[in-house]
Symmetry: C2
Subunit: 240 residues, 2 copies
Amino acid sequence: MNVELIPIPGVPEIRPGDDLGPILTDATRKAGIALRDGDVIVVTQKVVSKAEGRVVSEEPDGKAAWVARETRRVVARRDDLVIAETRHGFVCANAGVDASNVGGGMLALLPEDPDASAERLRATFAELAGVGVAVVITDTFGRAWRRGLVNVAIGAAGLPSLVDLRGTTDASGRTLEVTVVALADEIAAATGLVMGKAEGVPAAVVRGVRSEGPLLPASAIVRPPEEDLFRIGQGGERAT
Amino acid sequence: MNVELIPIPGVPEIRPGDDLGPILTDATRKAGIALRDGDVIVVTQKVVSKAEGRVVSEEPDGKAAWVARETRRVVARRDDLVIAETRHGFVCANAGVDASNVGGGMLALLPEDPDASAERLRATFAELAGVGVAVVITDTFGRAWRRGLVNVAIGAAGLPSLVDLRGTTDASGRTLEVTVVALADEIAAATGLVMGKAEGVPAAVVRGVRSEGPLLPASAIVRPPEEDLFRIGQGGERAT
């Protein structure tokens, strides 16, 4: 079955305290998008952070101070760039503190609990649109060994963020070595194709996703320290 | 504009020496998919490797020996798992050596030059289907700090694998901090939604992708050593 990526245009500028669920529901209606059961509504972190009041003034402390506050552990650093682990466990540039699309002199911080934000939005869509949808909240992350950025899921509700294929077999009957698929990250990355940074499209519908398995929030994607091969002296042997 | 992800069903089992371009063109026709200018044809590494004869017998040397041969640098290791840099510069599990979907006792290696493989496919589609398409060859990679796997682009032709947004402005007129988008990786990850590991669907069409900028192969996504913050003693300050 085909999957469709449908941008949601016409979302107004979001301000602290705005109720994002009704605003997005309204925008889908005005755009002529009739939400269906099984749709995944994808929303960028930026509008979620704005609605939740997670936007701060850069002055007088400066961006570096905000990055430090949002950082649980510095993973790597070069010049002005800090790769930091946030309190959620995400490893990303500047602990997710970002000045784009928030207006001059302001900085957006990541939502306090993006899975909870996603769950609130999911409940609102169920109530207002009368459909069972899933919700994914995205942010744009770099990768250690690959240039360029892709969207990943920092919050999710109503779908299995990870799909465990262990024990299933491939087309030739052999047990699959590839075992766990990051479904929420696939969905997030896909919407990068319709939610351009420059176009002011902060939400999209992904239609036709099939998934099996227990519902899992995006926090399930965070690799726990004991599995982290790039944390020196904690069990992993590194060779460079 | 919407983007559509269209799986290409009915691709037969691929054998060494098979000419993949005509086989995929035929499969799209039989599936009733009329290719259009601007479509992106996405193909998994596995069928490209099979067609190019990059499938080897696991015995007598064993998988570990093949992984060692395909490895340029061991990045990290724990128990049986080796995170290795391939000669292409990709950092992935087991240097891309993989036993799934190739038949018992066999191992698939990555294509020698996946960008060249993509370019050959692109030329074949232009000739046989009379359309200007782009081609992306995908493999399934893990991530250092995130659980689960996503598809990434290991080969590409006919599109900008990286899109440079530096100098453009956001909706509020502020210059974007997010600068370079990994378009080919977004496309690759998206097709994970329609090319399930277990279903034997090794190809898909991505329709409606808009992109600007100079064409760049997937090798452009490989982060050069001087930008690698996770290579000890080569300029990056690491803090753990």
